[in-house]
Symmetry: C2
Subunit: 623 residues, 2 copies
């Protein structure tokens, strides 16, 4: 049988496939695991891909049923239903990948012209002699002026301390890394200019090594934030830091140690050393920002919740314990307010929010969820205390997105269909599956709009005084029993209610309605991989057509990378921070009323990409 080449983007994996293999089969053969609840029958609609180049087999009825009109118009197909007859190129959106694959995805693909703050210059000097005994520093600075027109060059003091030996060992020919006229590193010519962008999350730290000259990502990696030892959430950590100066020091040290470790690991993958990193950009929420920099947090935690500093900071890396190039700086993006930090600024930078026309919403869902509403570039933001429930914390059978976690789930007719990470036997539910489960139970009439469970359903039982719905029961065959409890549902209701309240108050403050929202960008690991339709059913996200949503991955990381690559992006970040209007949710008069309503489950479901009122809520039979 003839073979043809299939190219999967943006993962960049290519291989040969036969004409009798579906795109899903091709992907699997190349080690790309696509989401599939129905096992390739074309009924779950999860293995969406977009055809970029090449011919494809005709659409099946299953595809027309599963995809929205706009998706079809944009070239979306279901991978399990599509057979390429020749060479082709296919785009795999992040939400179609299973969790273990996702870490390879870099979030938004942004096209940014490299314009880094640290610039490499080649310098060639005449060695000194008895007739020409100009000092080492002055010799180097003069050459930078003469050969490169740098007007007022200076040199970092630590670089100066090693200068005499450096100049002589490199035989007076080398590469100077210059930042705003200051020499921050000296290496042999030519050397790579490496930068590190970091999204310092409450739970995870994501790092990206960039070639500063090209803006290209050389390596990326996520590690757990070791500050978790001092508390899972921000509030507990802040309380720890407030207890003593030592507490502040511990949290600072914990984060900087992790960053150093991340830098080493990232550098190892490309055969580099951390000393080659000439610039770091860090984003994080205001509390993480303060704890990382060793700034006090007491005034941040107590009313009126004031940050120690709002503007962007350029700090000598060595001054905060970061071991990179001798004279290099850490650039920290600006904060907006006590609860809306540099990570939110990075999201707004990555999504280009200030330049968007119309009504646009951006959410970065996490333990704290920041929401920004932009009306023709006029932006206001809120911070919602969504808590850690979406990450599986405090959920009876919740777990992180690792092998054996159910990540997607649906109720078809009377069966519960699910997919686990790695295809392993189910061990628990990760965040996206919890959302799916509640949405599906609600649509099946097992839950009412208040989230109350139908105690008469035959899969509902009472354990330790709490009602729970049995999703999986494999105990008989040596597996696990997985349930979702009434308490779990209340936790998720509170979490989604917090986010919904934020959206609602933003719309009201700007005199806009839900229907007017033209685009919703959902950032963050959790937000990117949830089923948007399920989230709409829950009443967490606005009930608007599915094609207005974009799941954009780690946009904060993308923003950090942009600021690392480009001076213009840093300027834009500061302008964003200066112009976003921060709304303190708890201080708005309608907060309590809105929050109470927002806890209800939704009024709409998404069918074929469009919203539809949930009319019949009668019990369906589920095996």
């Amino acid at each position: 049988m003839t073979e043809h080449r299939v190219d999967f983007e943006p993962i960049g994996r290519r291989g040969q496939c036969r004409a009798d293999q579906s795109l899903r089969d091709c992907a699997q053969q190349m080690g790309i695991e696509l989401v599939s609840l129905c096992g390739g029958k074309g009924t779950c609609g999860r293995c969406k891909v977009r055809v970029l180049e090449g011919e494809m087999s005709q659409r099946t009825l299953a595809e027309i049923e599963a995809l929205s009109t706009s998706q079809i118009e944009s070239g979306y197909r279901l991978a399990c239903q599509t057979y390429p007859p020749g060479d082709c190129k296919v785009y795999v959106p992040p939400e179609s990948l299973t969790a273990p694959q996702r870490t390879q995805v870099e979030g938004l693909q942004v096209d940014i012209r490299p314009d880094p703050v640290v610039i490499p210059y080649r310098v060639e000097m005449t060695p000194p002699s008895l007739q020409d005994n100009e000092a080492d520093t002055e010799r180097l600075l003069r050459v930078l002026r003469e050969q490169h027109g740098i007007e007022h060059p200076s040199i970092d003091f630590r670089v100066l301390q090693e200068l005499p030996e450096t100049l002589r060992s490199f035989k007076w020919q080398l590469q100077a890394s210059v930042r705003d006229g200051e020499i921050v590193a000296l290496r042999s010519w030519p050397s790579r200019q490496i930068g590190l962008a970091v999204d310092l999350g409450t739970t995870k730290i994501a790092g990206y090594l960039l070639n500063l000259s090209t803006g290209q990502v050389m390596a990326s990696k996520g590690i757990m934030n070791p500050q978790i030892a001092y508390g899972e959430d921000v509030i507990t950590r802040v309380a720890h830091a407030m207890e003593s100066q030592q507490g502040t020091e511990q949290l600072h040290k914990s984060a900087s140690t992790a960053l150093n470790q991340l830098a080493i690991e990232l550098c190892t993958t490309i055969g580099a050393k951390p000393e080659e990193i000439v610039e770091v950009v860090i984003v994080g929420n205001t509390a993480m920002h303060h704890l990382f920099l060793g700034l006090p947090v007491k005034q941040l935690a107590l009313s009126p919740y004031v940050p120690a500093v709002r503007g962007a900071q350029d700090i000598k890396a060595r001054g905060i314990g970061i071991n990179i190039a001798q004279g290099a700086y850490v650039h920290v993006l600006p904060n907006i307010a006590g609860f809306v930090g540099a990570d939110h600024v990075a999201v707004l930078l990555a999504t280009n929010m200030r330049q968007k026309k119309g009504v646009v919403l951006a959410l970065d869902i996490g333990t704290n969820t920041e929401v920004c509403l932009s009306c023709d570039g006029v932006m206001s933001s809120v911070s919602c205390a969504s808590g850690p429930a979406f990450e599986g914390a405090h959920i009876k059978h919740g777990m992180r997105a690792s092998e054996g976690a159910i990540e997607h789930l649906r109720i078809v007719d009377d069966r519960i269909e699910y997919q686990t990470i790695g295809g392993a036997r189910p061990m628990g539910l990760c965040g996206s599956a919890i959302i799916d489960a509640i949405a599906q139970l609600y649509l099946a009439g097992v839950l009412d709009e208040r989230g109350r469970m139908d105690l008469n359903h035959r899969r509902v039982r009472s354990t330790d005084g709490t009602s729970e719905f049995v999703l999986v029961d494999e105990e008989g065959s040596g597996g696990a029993t997985i349930t979702i409890t009434q308490i779990d549902i209340r936790q998720i209701q509170l979490a989604k209610g917090a986010i919904r309240t934020g959206i609602q108050i933003l719309l009201e403050a700007n005199g806009r309605s839900e229907e007017e929202i033209q685009e919703v960008m959902i950032a963050g690991a959790f937000g990117t991989y949830i089923d948007v339709a399920s989230a709409v059913t829950l009443g967490m996200l606005p009930a608007i057509p599915l094609n207005r949503f974009r799941q954009i991955g780690n946009a904060a990381g993308t923003g950090a990378r942009m600021a690392l690559s480009s001076r213009a992006a840093r300027k834009e970040a500061q302008e964003i921070a200066d112009c976003v209007k921060y709304i303190e949710l708890a201080a708005t008069p309608q907060f309590t009323r809105t929050f109470a309503q927002a806890n209800y489950l939704g009024k709409y479901r998404i069918v074929h990409g469009e919203r539809e009122v949930i009319s019949s809520n009668g019990n369906q039979a589920i095996e």
Copy 2:
């Protein structure tokens, strides 16, 4: 008997004296010890003072004999010969004070308009509220802009780390110390702005605490340089630093620890804390400069003797282990070349050399002696390896200027007259006495112009194969025997020859003769307290009229104080460093010849302030 008030300046001591007390008696009564070899007979001419205000008794014949015409014209008197009939004010030049008194003298009295780089601003802020939750840093910087017109204010990162607590503990009203727009310290309003000027000598470290607002010296103190543990002279220390990175680190640490200790001691005397010091200025020779800053010295010690850096440096104090105000800087004056450092620049600054008309010489005599010749402001400098002999090192009965050291000595008729520090029994010779002794022995014909001792003189004996002249023999009465050996004389000849060579080559390079020199300024502890006439007799200093010499004390320290007080002085220092022409002595063709000649003793003696050829060199009888 009536009493009147006598005021001694610049010491600032005042008291009541009777009409039958000479100025010398008055001084003694107030604890001011004046130099006196003759015990008040008016024959040694050492207790010179200048009358500033008030009537005095008529000049005695002894005074007319001892003082030069120009000294008499300037109002100089011998304190032992002068009786004030009423209130008066008298100036005591440093050379008339005995050594223990001298440390109180601040060197040159300079009149400088305070124009410090660190400026205190009073800031009053409105505390934040839920309606006004501007970040702490931005609030403070805005107030600095609004209330004081500072255009681009910034804040030191360590000050920022403590800002939230500082603002709240001072209740939003405080004093910001601002340096070029950067907040380097925050204190309560009003607080003193204290600065520290340091002359980092090879042997001694002199520190001055200044009130930056007035330029006034609040306290001063000299301590030994603990780097002596790594070598008495610069060469040994440099060799130690070259051995390993650890050596460099040890020398840096030794100096910074001493500086911290000095800061603590100085602050204690005025009831302050080192954290109140908001700026430090440091001067030292190039090697001391490098060793203090932890800069490598290998390239400085090996041909072509290149400094790591020449220009002035502003370094965060904490970055080099100096514990003062959180964000404060250490300003290091510029060097000129490998062997002519920031201390020489400070001397030229203090002496206002660039603005002097005519031919002017400035010397800073020490282990290394820097000499500058200015011809109408066109300056050239040399560095002379004069060694530690002048400080009593490697001299058989040499000792530092402490109790029991003979500091002045002369041969009158057949007696040897001397004065010891503290009036104690003689224990040895300090530098100035060694110069006196050689000059007196030469004039008495015991030494010929080559410095060879008359072995037939009855006070000359041979001990361990070396001839020596017995100056003091009190062994019989339980005291010491003090001699000066032929080897001592050779050491001093080499030392003075080195200085004389420097002067000679400078004159030749500028096409000038000795007689054209209109002013000679002698700086440094040793240089200030030598008898200039003795030094001329030795052939160390040019044979020109005595009134062209000025002994100016620690001029390097004065220069450091000026740079601490005034931004204009720093600018002038940089311009001095940029325009002084450095002449490498060893590289000049006439060096060897000049040095050989310069070792001869002089051709002139000073009589009544004027030079006179040393004609008869016949042996005089000395008991």
